[in-house]
Amino acid sequence: MAKIDELKEEARKVLRDGTVKYIIGYGNGTNGWPAAPIFVKKPEDVDRFIWDPTCVHNLVRFLIDEKRRKARQKQPDKRPVGIFVKGCDSRAIVVLLQEKFIERSDVYILGVSCEKAGVVDAAKLSKKLAGKMPKRVELDDQNRFVVTTESGKIEAAADELLAERCRECPANFPVIYDVLSGEKVKRTPDKPYGSLEKIESLSAEERWTFWKAQLDKCIRCYACRSACPMCYCDECVVDSINLAVTADTTADEKAQRIRWVQRSAESSENFVYHLVRAMHLAGRCIDCGECERVCPLDIPLRFLNKKLEKEAKELFGYDVGFDASLPALISCFRDEDPQDFIR
């Protein structure tokens, strides 16, 4: 497991010099999950930062909050914000840079490599612990997870508790950073879309039954959207939300805004919400898995986005989140793009 002592030193330095406003990283949680996002402003608090396999959160989401905060201030503090990122998270920053949502100078990136493993899956861990709360999770030198609970320690092979997305991860070290901790262990998963196989083998009828049962559970809490670093639109198509209203917006503009999706958590509305959101993430989702992790009803949302990621790769040769100079997938085309959908 990578050690973050150098990163902490860096963090201390930039906070002391005042070159960075505050740093978003991982600290100790309290609610039974060992890690939680923390925001450190003072150099003496830097020791609160931790790094272990429970650091599952994608902190890039908080860059959106930062941008909104600056927009509300009359004289915003333009210094960059420091942020701890894993490989997957760093690709989210690349996508935000591609879309010019943030500037490179807005972030000071402290990258951490996942080295040979990744993060644990909360559901798998819960099952393993029969509902007991984990107090600490560490990765030992033999690539085994060591989980400490109230009643003692449990060990498991990395594969048993690793998040599915980590097994398929094409970049388990940050692709963009200012400082890096840990070794860059290059991995080429032999089944980059292995988790999709089971669903892909179902017939259309079976797939409908599967998704209907799953999406009927949805209560439209919008946690999936709120956790996604790429869902930053002030005017969300799949909702009545329109935060882009100002005093100058005319009554006509407000009146003519179409309600594509109703608020009711009915089958039809739930389907449209999730499918359209997945479409809007095609070529943008970097599979941080947050949508699925935060869902209180355990809807396997990751499959929707992963499928579109696979199509982006297979049809258009598009790799998401590696090259900030590339245009967004849906806003460009090449002459060689496949045309077999034209009959």
Binding site: T250, A251, D252, K254, A255, R257
Partner: protein
């Protein structure tokens, strides 16, 4: 027969009048219930107007409770429901449920002078008190009105204000000078300082944009009005109108049920979150 408090009564629009045209359009509607419906209310109370298919909007009733033939509402065109209302004509059907809110405590004001201070569409909630005070003139002291709008075109109740000048002092203002404008030029709070209403045995009732209310209250305090002598109505986003959906919650109040009328003495005790 049990009936839900959320179900509106059906009413027909019997008359519409364009008060202001253009981007900040304001229209006055008079409605009559169909099917024998009725709604008894006090000054300052509001009703939820339904445009079926679009939604509901909480609007203060601007006619006097002493007028039984119709209910009058003046509505600013600002969003989905109000735009749909503006597109309606006499003969169209809407829904009305209410009355909601605490209303103005006009019985406590008997024998006192009343100064009405309004800005823009803010005259509409005050209008029911103005009309009622005129109809019960002997019960109240001296009445006067200080009212202003952005431009002369944005003034509401233009005809009624002309008639009103025969019955009480009416001090109008607009924000920026216009060639034919003879009255005060400036913001309403500044006009208040200019006209110097006396606080002796007087109640000041003000309604308008939040920023105007803030400065009107400040200036009234400078003129030595006590907190209990200043009344205003608070606006907040509302959906249920009966203090259950949580939207208009400020402090331990629901504006739809415990307000929208507040004296400054009461309002300053609530979190300033409106």
């Amino acid at each position: 027969m049990e009936t839900s408090v959320y179900t509106p009564q059906l009413a027909k629009i019997i008359q519409t009048k364009d008060e202001v045209v253009g981007p900040r359009a304001i229209k006055t509607f008079r409605t009559q219930f169909v099917n024998g419906g009725r709604l008894d209310f006090r000054c300052g109370q509001c009703a939820m107007l339904s445009v079926f298919g679009k939604g509901e909007s909480m609007i203060s009733i601007s006619s006097s409770p002493l007028v039984k033939d119709y209910l009058q509402f003046s509505i600013l065109r600002t969003g989905r429901v109000t735009a749909a209302l503006h597109d309606m004509e006499a003969g169209d059907t809407i829904g009305i449920r209410g009355p909601y809110g605490n209303g103005f405590p006009i019985e406590e004001w008997r024998g006192k002078n009343l100064v009405f201070i309004g800005g823009g569409i803010g005259l509409a909630p005050l209008w029911s008190v103005v009309q009622t005070a005129l109809l019960r003139k002997r019960e109240f002291g001296a009445l006067s009105l200080i009212y202003g709008a952005r431009t002369s075109k944005d003034i509401v109740f233009k005809d009624e204000l002309e008639e009103l000048k025969d019955k009480m002092p009416v001090h109008l203002s607009i924000d920026v000078a216009e060639p034919d404008w003879k009255d005060f030029v400036g913001f309403v709070p500044t006009n208040v300082l200019d006209k110097k209403p006396s606080p002796t045995n007087t109640i000041a009732i003000t309604c308008g944009p939040p920023i105007m209310i803030k400065f009107v209250i400040k200036n009234l305090k400078d003129l030595k009005f006590e907190d209990e002598q200043i009344y205003t109505t608070v606006e907040n986003k509302m959906k249920c109108g009966i203090g259950k959906c949580g939207r208009c919650n400020i402090g331990f109040h629901y504006v739809c049920k415990d307000g929208p009328v507040y004296s400054w003495a009461e309002l300053k005790k609530l979190p300033q979150e409106y």
